[in-house]
């Protein structure tokens, strides 16, 4: 096929063939640099953001800021009720979301026949994960605040957050369950275990680290969410600690939103201080999830 005469070789030099190798290599190197800069851009922004909030908020960070209730006077304002509200919200959301989501994931990976029903639920979960969070707030307003008459309580907020994080949680729990080798199921069935025994004593313990990672990541999403809680009406000046799940509440992101949207510079600076606290908390959660995942990826039991 190949004609090696010099005449034929010159004919190959059409526009699709570019033999200037040094130039092409140089171009490849420059573009590689551009790709690298694009990747680092996101991390740079994250650094700038952190430096900015620490610079603005650092002078406001003291014990009084963590232990005071909100106030009209920025000097006295604190985030005690917001921190307690966020913890309540996280605990209750985990309590509701984890069993239902893990149950749904187990059903989908272990029980459901791969048919129209399975496809419908999978498609539905993928679509739910893309619904804007503010619309979950509207659902919470219509369903929990109004219809179930829970008013603007922690319970209504936590139920709304549960619906919000369930798709993420189900997807990650399914991934964890699918990663369990088929042989483990088969050997358990071979010894006469029933389906629920296989799930309870083999699949869930083996998939637990993966499920835990998903739980931590989705809860950190719930802690940072603002819009759905504004919709159900959590934006209030709360100068007391909630005593039951039916009490009104505020959370850190809502306190930050409230202070940021005020024109006074002092309030914007205490918003920065509250952001520092929120970000430290979220970084710790994210880091623990990432290191949990890395740890178990390195030390797989099978």
């Amino acid at each position: 096929m190949v004609d090696a005469t010099p005449k034929a070789r010159t004919e190959v030099r059409d526009r699709n063939f570019d033999p200037r190798l040094p130039q092409r290599r140089r171009k490849a190197l420059i573009v590689r640099g551009l790709f690298f800069m694009a990747t680092v851009f996101g991390l740079l922004v994250l650094m700038v953001l952190m430096i900015d909030v620490v610079a603005k908020g650092f002078s406001w960070l003291d014990w009084g800021f963590v232990s005071n209730f909100p106030s009209r006077n920025p000097e006295e304002a604190g985030i005690k009720s917001a921190i307690v509200g966020s913890l309540w919200m996280m605990g209750l959301t985990a309590l509701f979301a984890v069993p239902v989501s893990v149950g749904a994931a187990v059903y989908l990976t272990e029980y459901a026949n791969r048919g129209w029903f399975y496809n419908l639920i999978q498609l539905n979960i993928a679509n739910l994960a893309g619904v804007p969070s503010v619309l979950y707030g509207i659902l919470g307003l219509g369903l929990f605040v109004r219809f179930m008459a829970l008013e603007r309580s922690i319970l209504a907020g936590a139920l709304t957050m549960t619906l919000l994080i369930m798709p993420i949680l189900i997807i990650s729990a399914q991934e964890a369950l699918k990663a369990v080798p088929q042989g483990i199921r088969e050997s358990a069935y071979a010894l006469g275990a029933t389906r629920s025994q296989v799930i309870w004593s083999h699949l869930l313990p083996i998939a637990a680290p993966g499920i835990m990672t998903g739980i931590i990541l989705s809860l950190s999403r719930a802690v940072g969410e603002t819009a759905p809680l504004i919709m159900i009406g959590a934006l209030t000046f709360i100068a007391f600690l909630p005593e039951s799940v039916m009490d009104p509440f505020t959370v850190l992101p809502i306190q930050i939103f409230n202070w940021t949207s005020r024109p006074q510079a002092d309030f914007q600076e205490i918003a920065a201080a509250a952001i520092v606290i929120l970000m430290i908390f979220l970084f710790l959660m994210n880091l623990s999830a990432i290191s949990l995942r890395n740890h178990f990826e390195r030390n797989r039991p099978y």
């Binding site: 990747t39 503010v134 918003a271």
Partner: protein, 304 residues
Amino acid sequence: MSRTPLRSLQTNVYNSPKERVVQFVLGACAVATVLTLFGIAFVLLGESFQFFSNVNVLDFLTDTEWTPQFVEKHYGIWPLLSGTLLVTLIAAFVSVPIGVASAVYIAEYAPASARRVLKPGLELLAGVPTVVYGYFALTFVTPLLQRFIPDLQIFNALSAGIVVGIMIIPMIASLSEDALRAVPRSLAFGGYALGATKLEVVTKIMVPSALSGIIASFILGLSRAIGETMIVTLAAGATPRLTANPMESIQTMTAYIVQVSLGDTPAGSIAYQSLFAVGLMLFLITLGLNVVANKVIRRYKENY
């Protein structure tokens, strides 16, 4: 162990009542997700129905003014829609090139050691709460831009759009990276064997092969931008205006929803019901984009 009574070998333990109860309860959990989507649609449709019995659907879709607070009330969705599209467009300009370039770098160039730092870094960026991004847009990006563009208003679509774009970079990057990784390596090796440079392999073989997945990542990213709430509420303003000028204060659909629920609009009034009509519009747009994107992703997963 020996205490366990021997079960008759005739009993079918696999279909015992207990097993069936477990299956039923787990199945109910899965069905709960379907009910969530129906619940959202039901709440939105119910209140929107009230709204559209007071406001003509045609006016809603064609009027170019949105003035629910004025004496002369207009309920035309276009100013809110244009505000949303303006912010989304700016976000796309920021996130699409940077997101794809990051995906290409992480999937094709980065050594394993760099990848171990870069991927968690992008995950951290994805974990920043949107209210923090909103703070950043209002108190850092806007003053920074005002140094170069003196006419820039305090609330403007530009800085909100840029920050929304930064927010969706990790999403586009990680979905595009998945798409690039799904392309068989043999295609790249074929390119190298023909004497292509790395850049040529990436731009002429890998990216075109992964194109459907990359486009799906754009669609999902933009749907996220359309539904983004806190950044635009804090930084883009509360002035519904039919404009393409990114220097001005505008209002997006999501920001309007928040504004109504923050204010003391009495429940049952038309202004209150308009919240649900705008929400329905938002729901239909984002759901449509998601359905399309998920279809595309499903198709490319089948191809390889």
